[in-house]
Amino acid sequence: MAADHDLRALIARRKAADVIFGALGALSIAIGLLTLGALLFDLIRTGWPRLSWEFFTSFPSRRAGQAGILSAWVGSTLIMIVTMCTALPLGVAAGIYLEEYAPKNWFTAIIEVNIANLAGVPSIIWGLMALGLFVHSTLDLGTSIRTAGLTLGLLVLPIVIISTREAIRSIPQSIREASYACGATQWQTTWHHVIPYAMGGILTGSIIGLSRAIGETAPLITIGALSYIAYLPEGMSETPPFLTWRFWKFQWLGSGYTALPIQMFNWISRPDRRFHENAAAAGVILILMTLSMNAIAIFLRYRLRKRVQW
């Protein structure tokens, strides 16, 4: 029948759009993945000869073959600890306050817009601000691990706040009403229900924020990271487990430091090609650190999802 034929032609035409979009989507993904894959492959191929235990446990050196990233990865790790310990509690608390407690008015609306804006501020601006706030001020924290940690903490703070709010918003209002109907106070509702159910999302978003911070170079240069450093902060040791009991005295907070991206930047700006190999190897380690942080995020989300079943 003619009508049937027309109908099928119509369906075929509309299905063609499906196929075209599917193909375009696959192409877009391929472009992204291939570029990333090529970069990674190049990095690993260049850096591979240098990747060894000695590279991991040696200080930087004038001789490329003996130079290592010990001070850099220790510095990056310590900075991340400070960043995590400041940005997580502050950001999560601020997110909870904004979402659960703060009245909804023009003032909180302005704060909301500004937090979203802060998340997009270039990192070099954070570095300049931190230089004024932490270094050249009465705080006088110096060019130390705590300054770097606090600076990166400020950088990821908006990301932590935003992901906390998103995670909290995904909890249905009916759960809050159920809690209140049982006679809970606002804090009990928040502590017993909102925070545990939102924890997976909060941690995922925050860790992804932190893994952005670990690769930041610009703000650390601004606040005076050292590029050559042949000692470890107090409490750290050159052999596994890289930690001594004096770590808990927290003297290392005031220590000078370098970080992986700084070390890479320093090596890549040298003319000697062998230093470029070092930079590539350090890049591989940096990527591994980032990936392992993301893996932790995925693991935590999986664990918390298992505990909280909707």
Partner: protein, 288 residues
């Protein structure tokens, strides 16, 4: 002797007729002997969201150990009225109450500004339209209200949880998986779990907000049986959009329209011989 003052007074009818409608006064004749005390009474209750007046001068008496159904077309204010009983409106800005709802025998005005909404919610339980168990274990769902009240004794918790689950007719289905997630239960089971959660703390009034609107007919009839059985234990107010349900489970029915209480009386009378034209039209399905 007629003790008219002890009977639910539908404000609108009194205003219009200037007398207590015959349907009401004669209705309760045989029930007068066993007439239970008044559990709660709304007097000149009005409620507004911002400038919108959602409830207008409601006067009603809720009798103890009876099921009172609130019916009416969508937007008539029946859920709004129900949510006044446990101060759910206080969770949202721009809500304001006028008049009073007195809870007996304590004689406290539960919507009074000096009364803590948390205290009210600890006395008046609520079951919501959509089953909303916490994403925790069945046991923890039921124990939650008790934990909030400071019960730590494991034995007492176990016993109370079991009692509540039995009262809510879900013990048999839940007893072997008390520590599994409540989300694994079916919709009807989840709703009974929510009823158990509300019962665990022995509320004085239990408010049901269209508890079966998200459930299939089988689950619905189980909840209805449960509501009927629970009147022995607790005073029940139930909002429903289903008139057969109101007829099946309730002792008294209140018909609301556009924020006003149009008619209130014994359920059998309301459904067979309503005294108000609007009620009759709604019940016979001519609008709503």
């Amino acid at each position: 002797m007629m003790k008219v003052s002890n009977w639910p007074k539908p404000a609108r009818n009194r205003a219009e007729n200037g007398a207590v409608p015959a349907a009401l006064t004669s209705a309760g004749e045989d029930e007068m002997a066993t007439e239970p005390p008044v559990k709660a009474e709304a007097k000149h209750l009005s409620f507004s969201y911002g400038s919108f007046r959602a409830l207008k001068d409601i006067n009603i008496r809720i009798l103890q150990n009876r099921v009172t159904a609130l019916i009416g077309p969508s937007g008539c204010g029946k859920s709004t009225f129900l949510r006044c009983f446990n101060r759910m409106h206080d969770l949202y800005p721009n809500s304001s109450y006028e008049g009073q709802i007195t809870l007996y025998p304590q004689n406290i005005n539960i919507i009074g500004p000096k009364v803590d909404p948390i205290e009210v919610r600890m006395r008046v339980g609520m079951v919501f339209q959509k089953p909303n168990p916490f994403p925790k274990s069945i046991y923890e769902n039921v124990a939650y209200g008790l934990r909030l009240r400071g019960v730590r004794n494991r034995k007492l918790l176990d016993q109370k949880v079991e009692e509540a689950l039995k009262s809510a007719a879900i013990w048999d289905e839940a007893k072997d998986r008390l520590h599994q997630s409540a989300s694994k239960l079916s919709g009807g089971q989840q709703q009974r779990l929510c009823i158990a959660r509300a019962l665990a703390t022995d509320p004085e009034i239990l408010a049901f907000d269209e508890p079966t609107s998200a459930l299939d007919p089988m689950a619905t009839s189980r909840i209805e049986e449960l509501v009927s059985a629970l009147r022995e234990r607790v005073t029940i107010i139930i909002v429903t959009h289903n008139m057969q349900q109101a007829a099946r489970v309730s002792d008294f029915t209140a018909f609301m329209y556009l924020g006003e209480l149009i008619e209130f009386g014994v359920t059998d009378k309301m459904f067979t011989n309503p005294s108000n034209k609007l009620t009759e039209e709604y019940i016979t399905g001519r609008f709503g």
